[in-house]
């Protein structure tokens, strides 16, 4: 069962909230993980790891550096699950 992009965004926001304490409404598609959300590489790996399990996808380590914004991650996950 594929998740819609809105569902993926909501799910990512929940993960970021649990891992960092940032409010879910701060996690929007235009935000940069590093610049705007202050997420370091270890935390990013954790977010990716939890997201992989939640959405049933695999995000290879070498792809993670290309996911600059929340929107990048949403689109990647949406495509990866199809």
């Amino acid at each position: 069962m594929a998740h819609s992009e809105d569902e993926i965004l909501a799910g990512l926001a929940e993960i970021v909230n649990e891992e960092t304490g940032l409010p879910t409404d701060a996690v929007t598609t235009d935000k940069s993980f590093t610049e705007d959300l202050d997420i370091d590489s270890l935390t990013m790996m954790t977010v990716v790891s939890v997201a992989e399990e939640k959405f049933g996808v695999t995000i290879p380590d070498e792809e993670v550096k290309n996911l600059a914004t929340v929107g990048d991650a949403v689109r990647y996950i949406a495509q990866a699950q199809s």
């Binding site: 909230n17 649990e18 891992e19 304490g21 270890l42 954790t46 790891s49 399990e53």
Partner: protein, 407 residues
């Protein structure tokens, strides 16, 4: 220790309470913090021991979700206790390069290690959390506490099994005396209530198996004692150079008057009264007090058949039979790496309130018990300048004795 190290803050989370006040109130009331374990894993894994002293206030109730996800329970407990201790000390503004931490653990992040291994086996290597290492490493509690208060003069982690908490406080005092720091947050933490440590300690025949009477299971010095009861939690104290504490007008609970540390070099598990005696005598020598100044002992006394009487003999040899001896593990269970820290805090509070806490569950004391055991109800301690011992001994032949003196 003529250049005195004083105690200016206390913090606890324990089976008796989520803070210092509730823990101490329960201890003076002689309450047990031990209960039957209600987790699914007890039945699922056929746990040989089905009771322990779990936190009275779960860490998840006082920490944020990210804190609970990024720290092993052992570090969570240390942070809970450190927050209270730091606030109690007045959250002083000071030079971070003169502030250190010494936070001990007996076995480190065992929950994280084992749950991530479970993840690996069940779901593969990609499901292993990237935070596994920073959560399981035994120095994580000390590092987390250093980040909490911004301590940049060193973050240390003595690992000496059940002597760890007492060793941490002694080592912290030495850091201050060495001139390297003015203030040190020191103590110990442990989160061992998982089926593997329970089974492992049970296989050593170190744990009580009194599954039908959890609250009565920890009974130091009773002829029917059958092992210790596992506990969890943390204790943190703020140690401070006396001149520094007085200059900022801090409340001073007591001072660290002496610290003795020895190793047995004899057996990896069995205690050695000889090494324990040397530790107590070394602390006494450093304190420049005499045995008659010592009015109270918080004994290591874990409720094991061998350990309790060995220590009792040592206490009698070093101090005679005048000191009021309390075995608070009868109420809290044994916090392993956290024990020495929690019990140092009990010792400080006993001097403050001039009340030695009770030892519960002793209905048939050892007939040849050579010490004056405080049973069932608190005992008043004398007024004036007095001092007390706290002992912590650990597998590996580690012996740490602290002397706390009134100010």
């Amino acid at each position: 220790m003529t250049n005195h190290v004083v105690i200016t803050g206390l913090g606890v989370t324990s089976p008796l309470g989520g803070d210092v006040a509730s823990t101490w109130e329960a201890a003076l009331a002689g309450r047990s913090g031990v209960n039957s374990l209600e987790h699914d894993w007890v039945e699922q894994y056929d746990a040989p021991v089905r009771f322990a002293g779990e936190l009275a206030v779960p860490a998840a109730e006082v920490l944020s979700v990210p804190e609970t996800r990024r720290m092993d329970p052992s570090a969570q407990y240390a942070v809970v206790a450190a927050r209270e201790a730091w606030a109690d000390a007045g959250s002083p503004e000071l030079d971070p390069t003169r502030l250190a931490t010494v936070v001990a653990s007996g076995i480190g992040g065992v929950w994280t290690l084992l749950s991530q291994w479970d993840n690996y086996k069940e779901k593969g290597p990609r499901r292993v959390s990237p935070l596994t290492v920073p959560m399981l490493m035994p120095n994580a509690p000390s590092a987390q506490v250093s980040m909490l208060v911004g301590a940049r003069a060193g973050a240390h982690t003595p690992v000496s099994a059940c002597a760890s908490g007492a060793e941490a406080i002694g080592y912290a005092a030495q850091i201050i005396l060495s001139g390297r720091a003015d203030v040190v947050l020191a103590g110990g933490t442990e989160a061992p209530i998982h089926p593997l440590p329970l089974a492992a300690f049970a296989r050593m025949q170190a744990l009580s198996t009194r599954n039908d009477d959890p609250q009565g299971a920890s009974r130091p010095y009773d002829v029917t004692r059958d092992g210790f009861v596992m506990g969890e939690g943390a204790g943190i104290v703020v140690l401070e150079r006396e001149s520094h504490a007085r200059a900022r007008g801090a409340h001073i609970y007591a001072r660290i008057a002496g610290f003795g540390i020895t190793s047995d070099a004899a057996d990896i598990a069995a205690p050695s009264p000889e090494g324990q005696e040397r530790a107590m005598r070394a602390a006494l020598a450093e304190s420049e007090l005499s045995a008659s100044d010592i009015v109270h002992v918080n004994a290591h006394a874990t409720s094991t058949p061998v350990g309790d009487m060995g220590e009792a003999g040592v206490i009698a040899k070093v101090l005679g039979d005048r000191a009021a001896v309390s075995a608070t593990k009868s109420m809290t269970g044994h916090l392993l790496g956290g024990a020495g820290a929690l019990e140092t805090i009990f010792t400080v509070l006993a001097l403050r309130d001039r009340k030695a806490p009770p030892t519960i569950n002793v209905t048939q004391p050892e007939p040849d018990l050579p010490i004056d055991l405080v049973r069932d109800v608190p005992r008043d301690l004398p007024a004036g300048d007095v001092a007390a011992f706290n002992n912590g001994f650990g597998f590996g032949g580690h012996n740490a004795s602290l002397i706390i003196a009134s100010v």
